[in-house]
Amino acid sequence: MDLGFDIVDLPATDHPTEGDDAPDFTRPLVSDEYWEDVSLSSLADEDPVLLVFYPMDGAFPATYIWNELRDRDFEATYEVTVAGLSISTPYEHTTFIEERGIDTALFSDPQNGVAADYDVVNDLDGMASVAEPRPAVFLVDTDLTVLYSWVADEWPAFPPYDAVEEALAANCEMKPLES
């Protein structure tokens, strides 16, 4: 962003990058109808997964990110499964899915352990004992190899959507056109 002033720089991290193994995890995965424990590896069983770490449901970046991803509708074009992850509870995810009009399933990780495993923790200033993931995007192959990664290095930040789409185009099959 070019705002004419400095925002908060985030320290460098040791997050997985292209060619690394993405840490597997199991968390409740929330759809508009129910939630159940799902592992990243089972989600990536057939197609690569675009894992989107985003700020808690209700924060405006969450709204902006999912409006953009909804409108881009990557799953309509590429053989990829998009999944979000925030620290919000399954109940909040259910509301958020409805409000944003998305059909993307969202992982719920209130204790922020997945962000810790990926080294993308964002300790929130002014909210005692609350941490959440930095905005981050990982394209993970079916064997959990990282195909593409982007992690925010300042706060706030938004995913580079065009670069994400280029990564999808480079790594994922195109979906057949629906007749």
Binding site: T26, P28, L29, S31, D32, E33, Y34, W35, E36, D37, V38, S39, S41, S42, L43, D45, E46, P90, Y91, T94, I97, E98, G101, D103, A105
Partner: protein, 131 residues
């Protein structure tokens, strides 16, 4: 629609007034994960989804009754949590024909069943080793 045969009917009558079993007023019709989707928690290191799926509502005593029975028999199961709003439980209705929970789908036997009394009786007969 509401189970009344349980010993905890009093609890559930309160439960019905406050959070659950509200009359339909559906506002949610978005797409959902297909029922046959491959997601599933590996209960062990194997990547297999347990053959029993339990549709449940958090803190629903009837659901906990079924959980207790499943645990007693050492049966692996996958929990799917639904919303308190009765009208938001179309996934359950597609499976069992009703929106009530608990409901189980047992792929070992092909049985799908609602109502905790029925489910407990079924589990006893199928896995209890008693006549």
């Amino acid at each position: 629609m509401i189970e009344t045969r349980s010993l905890v009917a009093v609890i559930v009558n309160e439960h019905a007034k406050t959070t659950s079993y509200r009359p339909a007023g559906s506002y949610l019709t978005a797409k959902s994960l297909p029922l046959s989707h491959p997601y599933g928690l590996p209960m062990s290191e194997s990547a297999e989804t347990p053959p029993i799926t339990l549709y449940r509502l958090q803190a629903c005593p009837f659901c906990e009754r079924v959980v207790r029975k499943l645990t007693d028999y050492g049966l692996a199961y996958q929990s799917r949590f639904v919303e308190p709003m009765h009208s938001d439980r179309n996934a359950v209705k597609r499976v069992s024909g009703a929106r009530t929970v608990p409901a189980i789908v047992d792929e070992n036997t092909g049985v799908t069943m609602s109502e905790s009394g029925n489910i407990v009786e079924y589990l006893d007969k199928t896995y209890g080793g008693e006549d």
